[in-house]
């Protein structure tokens, strides 16, 4: 095929080379200060929100890293940083050996990169244009990147994409409102796959869906990963879903990673107290009527985060050091965890 991108189709077998995705100390700060006049008149200080504050991880080709955490922990900001919707205030995102944000800022390399990194959004009702037919929605990335222009070839490719997500090529003449939530999310997946990306950033792709439909979408995502060697960053607040789809899990709290481990280790031997708390908080089907002691407190205001370890006001193991000194990410027994209590062997 003459098209350069088609030749660059991803390797189906994951190679044991360098990781495809490397995030190094990524940070993003938002200025949420009052307007200038208010600052001057009312002497309000500048206010900075550290949405993501030094997050580092790697994802090997063909693997899935899941980021979990509660609302406001910065997981969606990480997603937006990776796809280039935000520029980082600090740190680097290295994709397949090249600095992604340097490429995003430039012309041609940025376009090529955007083909290789695609995103699936949470709300399938908001992420599809209601006035466009499915055909146009799925074909848009192909047209936009100039990959295909011949109407017949476009139509064929769209049909093929729809089939790969379990829809019928006959669906391409319909509008989004004619589909259910799960089907719409499949259309989003088909659109994301149109440019044959290597890396998909999925921001809560199933949280707007019912469980039976969620299972359909998760199964399709896993099948596609196996067939096309896709690499996923999967963002979710649902640990049960994360356990099903991921290879590695990163737990975020107030803009920082507190624990990063492979799935099995994280679920059988959670180290960080916050991870333990999250695991405990999941209602389990098996013990009906079992009384639990829920963890007290709520996520603090990110504008005014606690001193030291951000989790210390809610942590049962916190001591004086935790409230004064911020724990650094350390590798302990193959698991990366940021906790003084774990480091000191107190828990």
């Amino acid at each position: 095929m003459s098209n350069p991108v088609m030749e660059m189709a991803p390797a189906v077998t994951p190679t044991a080379s360098a990781p495809l995705v490397v995030a190094q100390d990524l940070a993003r700060t938002f200025d949420v200060s009052a307007p200038w006049l208010n600052r001057v008149l009312e002497r309000k200080p500048r206010q900075l929100l550290h949405a993501v504050d030094g997050v580092s991880f790697e994802i090997a080709r063909g693997q899935t890293l899941a980021l979990v955490g509660e609302s406001g922990c910065g997981k969606s900001t990480v997603a937006r940083l990776l796809v280039g919707l935000y520029a980082p205030t600090r740190g680097r995102f290295v994709f397949d050996g090249q600095d992604a944000h340097a490429a995003y800022r430039s012309g041609a390399p940025g376009r090529l990169l955007r083909r290789r990194i695609q995103m699936i959004f949470q709300d399938p009702y908001a992420s599809l244009n209601p006035r466009w037919r499915v055909e146009d929605i799925v074909a848009e990335p192909l047209r936009e990147h100039g990959l295909l222009s011949d109407p017949k070839a476009l139509r064929e490719r769209v049909g093929e994409l729809l089939r790969s997500v379990g829809l019928s090529p006959h669906d391409m003449v319909k509008y989004p409102h004619q589909f259910s939530g799960g089907q719409r999310q499949r259309i989003s997946i088909a659109r994301a796959l149109a440019t044959r990306p290597d890396f998909l950033v999925c921001d809560e792709p199933t949280s707007a869906l019912d469980v039976s439909v969620q299972a359909q979408v998760l199964n399709i995502m896993k099948d596609l990963q196996r067939q096309q060697g896709l690499t996923y960053l999967f963002i979710s607040h649902n640990l049960a879903v994360v356990r099903h789809v991921s290879d590695q899990v990163g737990v975020m709290y107030l803009g920082r990673l507190v624990e990063l481990a492979d799935k099995r280790t994280l679920f059988t031997q959670p180290r960080h107290p916050y991870t333990r708390m999250l695991l405990d908080a999941i209602p389990k089907l098996h013990d009906t009527g079992r009384a639990r002691t829920p963890v007290q407190g709520e996520v603090p205001n990110p504008l005014n985060p606690p001193s030291g370890c951000a989790f210390h006001p809610r942590c049962p193991h916190a001591n004086a050091r935790c409230s004064a000194e911020r724990p650094a990410m350390q590798t302990l027994g193959g698991v990366r965890v940021a906790c003084h209590a774990v480091e000191e062997g107190r828990i």
């Binding site: 509660e70 039976s212 607040h237 389990k284 009906t288 079992r290």
Partner: protein, 331 residues
């Protein structure tokens, strides 16, 4: 046993330009005093609508077109608005999904609480305030004496939902209808709110109808559970039985779709297809096009709830008479 709430053959219809849509079609269940009944189902199953019908807050043009709802034997589905208003709040409390929209942003929470208490109970304003503070304390709001004069926007999501629970319980109702009370909250807060709801209702002897799509919440909280599908109850029974020995194929499918924290599977079980739209509910059993156990009669005969082990399921698989007859035939 005396029933607190009885719902019998409830039918809710929406007249539209293209004909009348039946959103609920013969829903029957009851709740005993102090019992927690869970109502689960996927979106569009009619679970929230059932709750809205009970508290008399159906959005027009929706209307109750058949059946009856009784609270302690008294019919409440055909009451005029004024007496219904006295029941709502006094005898039936309501908790909705989004705690921000169920509180008035312009009034302090203290004013909203005392207003509810003064409307329904015979107390002085000072006593009402005292009660309001006690309620906030009971729902786990720290520094209740100060917080009572704060406005909803000054509370976090979890705290707001505690206020809403306090508001629902202010007039000491016998029944609380909680529609997805934890869906808008984070997991760590969800657990707190569910524990609180369960404890506080038990303490006050209030029965709860808990509408949710989260089977985990149901498993942990409820005594009995009703599974709804396409505007009907598919299965109803003790929560442990429904979860571990589901009798209806839909319940069984629903249970196995849920990613399990204990067991790891390469693929999740899935029920193909989606819940039918109201305009195209299939004849016979509404679930038959998605059911892998569907028989011939499922296509045109609609099953009613029938005993199935320890639960009751609307499924022909449990039609003992027919099974016996079929065995007779094959002999």
């Amino acid at each position: 046993m005396d029933k607190l709430l009885e719902v019998k053959d409830l039918v809710v219809e929406f007249p539209t330009r293209r004909g009348v849509l039946r959103a609920l079609d013969g829903v029957s269940f009851d709740i005993a005093p102090g019992e927690i009944l869970g109502v689960v189902g996927e979106s569009g199953a009619g679970k929230s609508l059932t709750g809205a019908a009970i508290i008399g807050l159906l959005e027009p043009p929706g209307r109750i077109a058949g059946g009856e709802i009784r609270l302690q034997g008294q019919r409440i589905d055909n009451l005029p608005p004024a007496p219904m208003r006295r029941i709502r709040g006094r005898r039936i409390g309501a908790i909705f999904q989004d705690p921000l929209t169920s509180l008035n942003p312009l009034y302090s929470i203290g004013r909203q609480l005392t207003e509810t208490i003064l409307t329904h109970l015979d107390v002085t304003p000072a006593e009402a305030r005292e009660r309001a503070i006690q309620l906030l304390r009971d729902t786990g709001i720290p520094a209740a004496e100060e917080r009572i004069d704060h406005y909803p926007h000054q509370f976090s999501g979890g705290m707001r939902q505690r206020v809403v629970i306090a508001l629902a319980l202010a007039a000491e109702p016998q029944l609380v209808v909680a529609d997805e009370p934890t869906t808008a909250l984070d997991v760590s807060i969800q657990a707190q709110i569910i524990t609180l709801l369960k404890r506080i209702c038990r303490q006050r002897g209030a029965a709860v109808m808990l509408v949710t799509h989260d089977m985990g919440v149901i498993a942990e909280t409820c005594d009995r559970v009703a599974v709804m599908y396409a505007g009907r109850v598919a299965e109803i029974g003790p929560v442990h039985e429904v979860i571990h020995r589901p009798a209806h194929p839909y319940t069984a499918g629903l249970m196995s779709c849920i990613p399990d924290m204990e067991v790891e599977r390469e693929r999740l079980h899935q029920i193909d297809g989606a819940m039918p739209r109201l305009t195209e509910i299939p004849r016979g059993c509404a679930f038959h096009p998605r059911c892998d156990k569907a028989m011939l009669r499922c296509h045109d005969q609609r099953p009613e709830l029938m005993p199935a082990g320890a639960t009751r399921a609307a499924c022909w698989l449990h039609d003992v008479a027919a099974t016996a007859a079929a065995q007779e035939m094959s002999r």
